[in-house]
């Protein structure tokens, strides 16, 4: 190859490399600018567990550096969202949605923050965006349906509930919505039919039992009403539909109220093993919180882990000796974990 051509080739390649580097740097700067705008000022972290405060500070600092700002902003969004700091979460999620517009998770989280801030229009906008990005994520349809129902848009609500049923056949949440609309429209027979289907296909769904009880009572069938009331109460409290996007946030949860609530909703439906990690984390984060010890000790007790229950309840008593509820339970654990006395006589 003639020397002149070689020089030209080297120059072209060098130019391309410089251009690529410049493009990359420019892109990084653009990303960095969006990320910086998405990072809110640090909230007051004085009342939070030290581990949480450290992670928020770390993610905030990392998001303001030029390397891997997306990862840092993502961490920050999850830390805020999972712990109900919704205004800060929303700011971060808006940035993430702008940088990753095809990622349905950010649109969905934005819908959730809007919902928790009482912004129903925003909720609807971002749920529709999620639906466009991830049309088969089933809970989006349900949330849109519920939102329409609560805004009085019953025809739209029916459309979304029916879609939800194609994605999750026999889904009690969608059937509950359709039954409520039927009842609202005065179609008592249809409502009754749908509630009866729900209690047959999803016997642990409390709301359907409760509303069916009311319909039976109105129809004068007190015996069946009483039975449905009993079944409704036995089924525990209403829990929200399965939502993997939101479940991902549990790993970032440091808020004892939310840990209690998440553990509690599983306890209500007797999912003791599933409830346990929430209570364990709450007690780990707040070892001097007698309520957290009390709650965890009670879960251990129900799981028949009596040594753990006793140790946890005694730890709670050490923090707050006057707590009345722990003492008899702790004593009962002690009694039940003591060696059985040997039998010395004969029968």
């Amino acid at each position: 190859m003639p020397r002149s051509r070689l020089i030209a080739l080297v120059l072209v390649l060098s130019g391309l490399a410089v251009a690529a580097f410049a493009w990359h740097q420019r892109k990084l700067l653009q990303i960095s600018a969006v990320v910086r705008a998405a990072v809110s000022p640090l909230p007051d972290l004085a009342m939070w567990p030290p581990e949480y405060a450290a992670r928020v500070r770390g993610a905030t600092a990392a998001a303001n550096r030029i390397e891997q700002p997306l990862e840092a902003l993502s961490e920050l969004a999850c830390l805020y969202h999972a712990n109900a700091l919704y205004r800060e979460a929303q700011q971060a999620e808006r940035g993430l949605h702008a940088l990753e517009p095809k990622n349905a998770q950010w649109a969905y989280y934005l819908a959730d923050t809007c919902q928790n801030l009482g912004d129903m229009e925003g909720t609807r906008t971002f749920l529709e965006e999620t639906l466009r990005l991830a049309p088969h994520y089933p809970v989006t349809r349900l949330k849109l349906a519920d939102l329409c129902l609560k805004q009085g848009l019953t025809d739209e609500a029916i459309h979304h509930y029916e879609w939800r049923l194609t994605l999750v056949p026999n889904d009690p949440y969608a059937q509950l919505g359709l039954a409520r609309i039927a009842e609202q429209r005065g179609n008592r027979a249809e409502a009754l039919r749908l509630f009866e289907i729900i209690v047959r296909t999803s016997p642990n769904f409390p709301s359907a039992h409760s509303m069916l009880a009311e319909l039976y009572a109105q129809g004068g069938n007190e015996a069946r009403a009483a039975e449905e009331r009993r079944l409704g109460s036995a089924a525990g409290r209403f829990i929200e539909a399965n939502d993997p996007f939101l479940y991902r946030l549990y790993a970032w949860n440091f808020d004892s109220y939310r840990l209690d609530a998440q553990g509690g909703s599983r306890l209500q439906v007797r999912q003791l093993e599933a409830a346990l990690p929430f209570y364990e984390k709450a007690a780990r984060l707040a070892p001097r919180d007698s309520l957290a010890c009390d709650a965890l000790g009670n879960v251990y007790l129900q799981l028949k882990r009596l040594d753990d229950a006793r140790a946890t309840l005694e730890a709670g008593l050490a923090v707050a000796p006057a707590t009345p509820s722990q003492l008899p339970i702790s004593n009962s654990c002690s009694a039940r974990t003591s060696p059985e006395p040997e039998c010395s006589g004969t029968s």
Binding site: E183, Q184, S210, S233, R237
Partner: protein, 360 residues
Amino acid sequence: MAVVDLDGDGLPDVLVCDAQTNQLRWIRQYPRGVYPESTIGDVMAPGHVQAYDVYRHGRLDLLVASMGQIFPNNDRIGSVIIFENLGNGQFRRHVVGEHMARVADVRGADLLGNGVTQLVVGCFGYDQGETLWMENHGDWKFEPHVVNTQSGPIHTPVADFYGDGRLGFASLISQEWEEIHLFDNLGGGKFKDTIIWGSTNEDYGSSGLVEADINRDGRLDFVYTNGDAFDYARPGPRPWHGIQWIENLGSHRWAFHRVGDFPGAYGPSAADLNGDGFVDLLAVSTFNDWSNPKSVSMMAWINDGHEHFTPVPLASTPTHLLTTAVADMDGDGVPEIITGGFHAYPPYDRMSRVLLWKRK
């Protein structure tokens, strides 16, 4: 709690549902500025009182919602009680409904347009509950008609919301529903149930609903608080707690306006608090973070006349306030605020029962 001139002496009195003594109490103002208190009658866990002349005999009777028990319970232990006003401070007790889901509200209204008082009742219950109206068959006999089968009704304000000359009623339904329903009066005892607003946050914590014409357009709007945390393991504030104005746009249309955040918000009232002719909003907090001495327990939102509201903290102590009323108690043309406290969980260091607040 309700403010009303019960004995017709020209001085407003205060009626108090006292869930600690399980009594309906009368704080009678007589003479002006003096407030002796007496018992009207026993009511298990009274939740709401309204003064209403049921049989048009010229005296205000007292309609009382009896929950049976304030804290969560699914048993049918609620009742509707009317204290018939016999005059001279004497009352006769009539239990007009019993074995009901816990009753949180009862209002009197001529729903049929025939001059006869019917009742609107919110049965909170727990797992089960309902909203119903009770048809008056005379001689203190009432027959229930259920219009909605969702548990958790808290307040059931009655008014002619659509200006058609017929009284309808609303039901603020909490529990997992978090909805405001309006029951449009179709005549002949028929009501059309419409959801005018609802939150998809099943933990929204609906806590109070009152009707008022906020923007002076001749249509009654709603002021709505959400801040309830009664059945949480850890009662306390949540970031979505606050106050909102549900605007009546006419033609059966409503618009939701978030007015402001207020952790633990309860007991909304609407009144011109600063005398500028515009309707301001007021609420108290039952579930704020009381470990922080700066947490606000009473807040006003001052209306600039264009329904832009400026929050004004009014008090941080006492804590755990549950209910409000606004009235010109001393007749000087300046409204006073009356609050009721509910101290069901700690701390127990800044407590109150019924307070009269005068403007400085």
